[in-house]
Symmetry: D2
Subunit: 273 residues, 4 copies
């Protein structure tokens, strides 16, 4: 079906995507994926994993390779970060979502991750879309921060055209004229995807706001718009974070996030996983 038709189509049924270990995105339960912006140390990951298990969460996010806008900023732990993520996740029975930066990077990341993330800046990096389109692993496709919903759905088609249908979309905020927040969470886009496309869609309130104090209300808004899950940056001590500290939810507030998500999910007849 053409994308223009998709955007006008009557309400479409979301096709759930199974991540493994019984976790499904796009079903009755909304899935909370949490973790650090960048993997920094085993102690950091372990603290987060323990809190996740305590709240019944199953999917850990974390960045091992973190190319930054400035070449002089912290760029991530690299392969060591991937290994740490995998080791801690296995120990706690968690799944791992992490990003592949380029085609040449896909085999390595696929070895360690349960879900391959395509970052916002790569949403139209077509060779990368084709490469993950040939994998037998779920892909988390972040919306480009200046991409229309139509372009986002077409990027998903680039993946699907190579055979991989396990695609989860992630709205992470768009760039607008507003500067008081890092980006503008586009809850309309979440509702539009739910109404017109078969892909599950989650929200990323961390990048969408850039401010820890707005993460919980933005998480609620994303879920209320229909999101099938959330991707949230947490840190045991945001003041010490090596990247994006101002938007990381302090781990001590994870309980509040989970409670808020449960209340909104319940209002919509859903649960939290």
């Amino acid at each position: 079906m053409a994308t223009d038709e998709l955007l006008l189509a009557p309400t479409t049924q979301t096709q759930p995507v199974a991540l493994g270990k019984g976790v499904v995105v796009g079903g009755d339960a909304v899935v909370l994926m949490v973790g650090p912006c960048a993997v920094e140390s085993e102690a950091q990951l372990r603290a987060i994993a323990e809190a996740m298990v305590a709240h019944g969460l199953r999917v850990m996010r974390g960045g091992a390779f973190k190319p930054r806008t400035s070449p002089y900023s912290f760029q991530g732990l690299g392969v060591e970060g991937l290994k740490l993520l995998r080791r801690v996740a296995d120990e706690y029975g968690l799944l791992v979502v992490t990003e592949a930066l380029g085609v040449e990077h896909v085999p390595l990341v696929a070895e360690y991750a349960d879900v391959i993330q395509i970052g916002s800046r790569n949403m139209q990096h077509f060779p990368l879309l084709w490469a993950v389109g040939e994998l037998d692993k779920p892909v988390l496709l972040k919306r480009g921060f200046m991409a229309t919903v139509k372009e986002w759905l077409l990027a998903a088609e680039h993946i699907r055209s190579r055979g991989n249908e396990r695609i989860i979309l992630c709205e992470r905020g768009i760039r607008t004229f507003e500067t008081a927040t890092r980006n503008t969470l586009d809850t309309n886009a979440i509702a539009l995807v739910k109404a017109t496309a078969p892909f599950p869609v989650i929200g990323d309130p961390s990048h969408a706001t850039g401010r820890a104090d707005l993460v919980i209300p933005a998480a609620r808004a994303a879920l209320a718009a229909g999101a099938d899950g959330l991707l949230v940056e947490v840190h045991p001590d945001p003041t010490q974070a090596l990247s994006d500290g101002e938007q990381a939810l302090p781990l001590a507030q994870l309980a509040q996030l989970v409670a808020a998500a449960q209340r909104i999910a319940a209002a919509l007849g859903r649960t939290v996983a």
Copy 2:
């Protein structure tokens, strides 16, 4: 306090604004304001008023003067529209929100309205802000669709600087590069206002989406972000509307909107009025 400080301030207490007849915006109850884009006929208003009463809603919105982008489109019923609004509202015990287009227009509108609306395109029409700042009536200040939150709060200061403190803000979507929806509902802005400013804030999911099928999810998102109410365009038969028909919620779906609002409000410990 300077606005830059406001935007960084710790969570601020909303100052509730009383509209009359016991209706308060910014308190425990979220307030649903509904009505037609443009007043078209007594039959239209009466049908809407009856449905409102049936659902316990108290505030009717409606446009009497509707200057449109093109000079050749329907421009509203004018004074007759104001009179109709007032008459039907009084009969059903409702309050009226309607727009004043310019300084010269304020005395007339103030005669018929309980709440004076300042439209998005007028958010920085300073003489108009000063004029309503001298009234003893609540003002509903819509955010300019290209205005930052800081500019919006400063526009409120222009009103307040003339003495009127009964100001309700309304987020109605901002203009971005996205064209699949008419505007982009900025739920971050709602959360930011709640966190940093004393004014109640409501959401307008009709203008923010431009599509009737997205109005209810957008309404839920606005409330989940913390909105103290909603402003929603409804029409007994949107296919026959003289303006903005594609975004009007069919009156037959008002029950769904109210139910959705009640469920989200309850999740936040609030009620609906």
Copy 3:
């Protein structure tokens, strides 16, 4: 003709607009309109007028009423400013362009100005457009910084629908995600208006850049795109300006601006007036 057709139409002939004293916008000569952001004093205006006469310029711009984003900033000299502008302009044989802020303001401004300016924030203030549409004076219609070219041309239609055909458009930069400059000069829009609409169009490199060091290159770009003139803020001493000092061209650089304009104009077979 519908605006959609206008935007696709084959190249249209610009209809020149006569301002008085033999000055015509939209003819062979590009017209430089210069002056202070805000009228501050007779000495300020006199210094500018002398420099204008020395360079053969004929149209002085200046603001008497300057409502500012913050209610606590300098708001202009008001009627005294209008009188000063008129007096100095008459003494030096210049024409005056100044802004009318609202409908109630039009008769006063029309008494002192040769050209009535509609500000960017008022581009869709329809009652004001109708009011100047009934005057027998040229109108300078600034593009809303959030308005599409189509909306801008429709705003001109609102003026024209009341009888006044002497309309000059002014591109003054649009709001985008870029923050290094105050706005983004849309030279495409200038070229599009020249290709498709009958109105002369000028460029405002002062508001479009917000930086004095970029005013001359932006002025060149606007003219090269086809602009019929420029509106430029100058000040004898920008460090002492009461408003917008960072974007005012120092009067000492007026000679450079004029020379740059002459060279670009000559490259296009035009002159400077």
Copy 4:
């Protein structure tokens, strides 16, 4: 020097970049780089090369790999396209600019191209920036259509941090709310780069407008703002183009483009190469 400082720095001297065969970008001559969006056939390239030689132009652009927004559109001739470009260019004594899509693609493209282009969607694809940073070839770095000038200069730093200092920036239009043109040419950005950074900068009026009828005025505007050259899509018969036909300048109008560039260049004391 930090980028924030760069953006505020006093006027900086452009460091010219030599492309080979005596062609230099950033010196007295503005350099016109023209060619098809996508290489389609030898006949197409030959027609363009002949016209280029007739006008003294030396740098041919052309795309061999053309991943498109939709996976179902023409995606380019691939390696055959690169070979054709090289063969025709050599025959006519021209240089070749063409795009590398990803890290894995760099060695292949470097074998055939004189200048490696980084596309707008790849401006922050950091592994690719690092890869071309290790080459001994000039790099043409297009601005991301969603990137600020600061981010663009930081992307150039990513290249320079690996040793390659031969960087040419290319402003190709940014995404804004305006839909009458494909993008908005940001002439302010050209002026800002010239004032504050050491890199030559060229303009791409084809992508910046998306309309053949606006290419020449936009080319003039870019040069008038200070651009050191242009990148323009031409086609012998745009109605038959396999991609982007609506923005390709008909080859028959190349003479007009060159003449317009010469006149603006002369106004600035420059020549055309």
